[in-house]
């Protein structure tokens, strides 16, 4: 088996080439301890087994980004036989820098000049033979997009594996004696790897190597100082300069770019898209279109996908034990609760599929890096990075999104400080699942100013995120590593359907997998907390009496009909009412055309009951049973609702909610709101359901949950504003927090990501509520003031330079 590591800079088409080389036999896992994906492929070519491992794309091999660390560790620990370096032929100059770093590793290298078609189109002439002679390794032209070069590459791999190899060596002139000293020290430590490479890395101050070889690290540090004293240069910049020079020599000797002066199509498009005046309008247009397609049309799609989820729910109900009139078996209650939690999540799948497909298209076309470029100017002021754009957009800047894929997307950010800041600010974005909650509150308290309030809510989040990021980067994250914005603007190209679908499905799958498992786990915990300790003996007896009375009433009416013998037991009535409710639930999600078909099926499944569910107009007795049945069904629902309310009120979660009242009262929250917030932490949607349940009116008056809330709760719009602000600031859900843990690699940061926003939320909403009360502001005024303050703070922070200017003096001509 020949073990091959595939390395290259981002955007060089490495993934396409990997797919081309390895075909369908791929294995995807994570690199140990991190979320960076490790893809391996297996091929058999001309009788040789080859394993290809796709290393993460890296610009260099000497900074400390997660990707580079992972790539280095792979080479250190897994000792590949051959390194295949994928080079973007249309951008050869910069790519060659990495090539030299790879050559230095001391393993045979095969250089693949990918995107030869693009290079040709741009009139770039490359002398392959010359490069091959100069760097002493096979150079293979290829085009992953056009599926060209597979066999040549595999053949070169096999030939290289058989050929003899003399270690590659760059002459580092004055650094050489130092390299030799460190090399002598490290020689015995890691027989698998080239001691010269390890020595160079150690001198470069490479953390990965230092951590692996702590003794050598001490010596290397000494040598670094000595070199610095002798030549007044840092080894890392000296090494980098030498490599750049070497890359430059190759470029000048072997590449002729005829079209340097000619404007490409990409240049023409960029003159509009990156234009000083047009760039922002174009950006907003793009965001607007994403919103239209993903959110507006996405919701329309859910009209068609919802029935699938509903029938899944009906199916689960059907296979669970059926209720004995008002006694619902615990297992049935549990099953419905779980299905509801899962469905709430799955209902978003079409929206996310469209959203992520559009974002994949933007990435493929090449607009994403340009968006990052445009926004970098703004983001930099807040300690973020141009590359923070994608995570923030996925997380829901402006249009709503989901923080889970947003935080997952931060792994591409090379700047460690900006990456941490992005991870910690994405949860402030507009979580789609928070929206129904806002709508509920706005509908209850601000029916007139709904549009304005929604405008405040949906635009304030980005400002809050910027402020938080700025605060964190100038305090807690101050000491984190930063790196300059090196992002290349690749030429525009048409996206492939396969690539777009693959990435969209992949991200949706992450959403389902990560969010789904956690939501279900939390749903179980919440169910227990809501279910325990359950009804008291007296309450139970009371409900038993109520339902008995209902049944008696029904028997009495039924006894006046010819069906009296069929309907005189609790069992028979229970069966009938279950069948009736089942019928109504199914009818709700079926199209009118299919109703007749469904009736037939019900008739077959429930021969005895169906005549009462849908009586024929000739049968007066069945009609009157049907009337009673409807009444009975309604009354039963009332009892079930009351039972649910009583259960919540005495539940453990209710106790916790009441326990928090002393703190939350400053923000105006009573225990019911607390319970809603607590239960909503599983998935945001459940806040609405819980609040609805808590404020549901027992009497059958014509009121919606929100109306009931505004009339009966004694809440003012100012309360509602305080709740909204708290909601804006609190993290979306537990799943998000788990992803924070995954991406930061630390529970400390996860806890920080939970408690910092929460404290911020409690403080902000308490202050708003208190000052609002003092100055007797209305809810809208209070939110407007808050909005103004946040925007002003964001703008002020932008004008304060992040780095202090700590020099002075100069020529004073006066």
């Amino acid at each position: 088996m020949i073990k091959v590591a595939l390395a290259g800079q981002p955007n060089c088409g490495k993934s396409t080439l990997f797919n081309l080389l390895s075909g369908l036999k791929q294995h995807i896992a994570n690199y140990p301890g991190v979320t960076v994906e490790k893809k391996s492929g297996f091929v058999n070519f001309e009788g040789h087994d080859i394993e290809i491992v796709d290393l993460p794309g890296t610009y260099s091999f000497s900074s400390y980004s997660l990707e580079e660390r992972v790539a280095k560790e792979f080479i250190l620990d897994e000792d590949p036989d051959i390194i295949v370096n994928v080079v973007d032929a249309s951008n050869i100059k910069r790519n060659l820098y990495l090539t030299f770093q790879l050559l230095e590793i001391g393993k045979p290298v095969v250089v693949v000049l990918n995107m030869m078609d693009v290079a040709k189109r741009r009139d770039i002439e490359i002398d392959l033979k010359k490069i091959k002679e100069m760097i002493g390794c096979p150079v293979i032209p290829a085009s992953g997009a056009k599926k060209e070069g597979k066999e040549d590459i595999l053949r070169a791999i096999i030939e290289t594996s058989k050929a003899s190899y003399t270690p590659f060596k760059i002459n580092y002139e004055e650094l050489e004696p130092y390299i030799l000293e460190v090399e002598n020290h490290i020689k015995t430590k890691s027989p698998k790897n080239s001691p010269r490479w390890l020595a160079i890395k150690a001198l470069e101050g490479d953390k990965t190597i230092h951590e692996k070889f702590p003794e050598t690290a001490t010596i290397a540090q000494e040598k670094r100082l000595e070199f610095h004293e002798a030549y007044d240069k840092d080894p890392e910049s000296f090494l980098a300069a030498t490599r750049y020079d070497s890359a430059d020599v190759i470029y000048h000797k072997s590449v002729v770019e005829k079209s340097l002066t000619k404007k490409t199509l990409t240049d023409h498009i960029d003159s509009i898209i990156l234009n000083r005046w047009l760039s922002f309008p174009v950006l907003f247009l793009v965001v607007f279109l994403i919103y239209q397609f993903a959110i507006v049309y996405g919701y329309k799609v859910t009209d068609y996908t919802w029935p699938l989820l509903a029938s899944f729910k009906n199916f689960i109900i059907a296979i669970s034990p059926s209720p004995d009139f008002t006694k619902v078996p615990l297992i049935t209650d549990f099953a419905i609760w779980m299905v509801n939690s899962a469905n709430a999540l799955l209902n978003y799948v079409p929206i996310f599929l469209i959203l992520f497909a559009l974002i994949a298209i933007l990435e493929d076309v090449g607009y994403m890096p340009r968006m990052a470029f445009i926004l970098d100017r703004v983001f930099k002021k807040y300690g973020l990075h141009g590359q923070s754009t994608l995570p923030l957009v996925l997380g829901g800047a402006f249009v709503g999104g989901c923080a889970v894929p947003g935080i997952m997307a931060t792994r591409g950010i090379a700047d460690e400080r900006a990456r941490m800041a992005t991870i910690l600010s994405v949860p402030y974005m507009n979580c789609l699942a928070k929206v129904p909650f806002y709508t509920l509150l706005l509908g209850a308290f601000f029916p007139e100013q709904m549009g304005l309030m929604m405008f405040f809510i949906s635009t304030i989040t980005i400002f809050i995120a910027l402020i938080v990021s700025r605060l964190l980067t100038s305090t807690l994250l101050k000491t984190k590593e930063t790196s300059p914005f090196v992002m290349e603007l690749p030429p525009y190209h048409l996206p492939t359907i396969k690539g777009v679908l693959y990435r969209a499905v992949e991200r949706v799958w992450i959403y389902i997998k990560e969010v789904g498992t956690i939501v279900l786990a939390v749903a179980v915990v919440l169910f227990v907390l809501l279910e325990l300790p359950g009804l008291s003996k007296e309450q139970e007896a009371g409900y038993e009496k109520r339902s008995q009375a209902l049944l008696e009433g029904f028997y009495a009416k039924a006894s006046k009909t010819k069906y009296k013998d069929d309907l005189n037991s609790k069992q028979a009535v229970s069966d009938l009412i279950n069948a009736y409710d089942d019928y109504r639930a199914k009818r709700m999600i079926i199209s009118p055309e299919k109703a007749a078909q469904m009736d037939e099926k019900f008739k077959a499944d429930f021969p005895k009951e169906f005549m009462f569910i849908k009586p024929s107009s000739e049968d007066k007795d069945a009609m009157s049973i049907n009337r009673e049945l409807r009444k009975l069904s309604r009354d039963r629902r009332s009892i079930l609702q009351d039972i649910k309310n009583d259960k919540i009120e005495s539940s453990l979660l209710g106790d916790i909610g009441r326990g928090l009242e002393p703190i939350t009262k400053f923000a105006g929250f009573d225990w019911k709101i607390n319970v809603a917030f607590l239960s909503s932490f599983a998935a945001r949607e459940s806040a609405v359901a819980t609040l609805g349940t808590l404020y549901e009116n027992n009497k059958a008056d014509n009121m919606r949950a929100e109306e009931a809330m505004s009339k009966h709760s004694g809440y003012t719009p100012l309360h509602a504003t305080a709740i909204i602000i708290f909601m804006l600031l609190t993290p979306p859900c537990i799943a998000t927090m788990i992803v924070v843990k995954l991406q930061t690699g630390s529970y400390k940061w996860m806890l920080f990501a939970i408690f910092f926003p929460m404290s911020l939320g409690v403080i902000a909403s308490s202050m708003l509520f208190t000052f609002g009360s003092i100055f007797s502001l209305s809810g809208v005024e209070a939110l407007a003031v808050f909005y103004g303050l946040v925007v002003a703070l964001a703008i002020i922070l932008a004008t304060i330079p992040q780095k202090r200017i700590n020099w002075s003096g100069g020529v004073n001509l006066n």
């Binding site: 309008p281 907003f284 965001v287 607007f288 919103y291 959110i295 919701y299 329309k300 859910t302 009209d303 919802w306 989820l309 509903a310 509801n340 709430a344 209902n347 978003y348 402006f398 249009v399 709503g400 789609l432 929206v435 129904p436 709508t439 709904m450 549009g451 929604m454 405008f455 809510i457 949906s458 635009t459 109504r584 009818r587 709700m588 999600i589 009118p592 109703a595 009586p615 107009s617 009609m623 009337r627 409807r630 309604r634 629902r637 009332s638 949607e685 609405v688 359901a689 549901e696 009116n697 027992n698 009497k699 059958a700 008056d701 014509n702 009121m703 949950a705 929100e706 109306e707 009931a708």
Partner: protein, 99 residues
């Protein structure tokens, strides 16, 4: 900024996360009952309900505490409308309300 304002304003108009649902039954006694609801299981009580005939509103009210509305069956063709705001309307035609 202006453009952003419009986008955001637009973004607010129809952001419900659930789908509106309604089914209607002829009760056989000259009345029709419609039951409303939402895909996420939230109650439809208090949601506006209309009965239209030839484009005229002949009956209007709100869904009751059980998310239901019962009305006298009009002569001729009519439409029952569940109106939970922009993008959340369900219309059921009389021809689809069978006994």
């Amino acid at each position: 900024m202006k453009k952003m304002f419009f986008i955001a304003l637009f973004a607010t108009s129809s952001l419900f996360a659930h789908t509106a649902l309604m089914s209607c039954f002829d009760n056989g006694d000259g009345s029709v009952t419609c039951e409303g609801g939402f895909s996420d299981g939230s109650s439809a009580s208090g949601i506006n309900f209309l009965v239209l005939q030839n484009g005229n509103v002949i009956e209007s009210g709100k869904m009751d505490g059980h998310s239901e509305y019962t009305f006298d069956k009009p002569e001729g063709d009519y439409e029952a409308v569940f109106d939970a705001g922009e993008g959340h309307k369900v219309i059921v035609k009389s021809s689809d309300i069978a006994l």
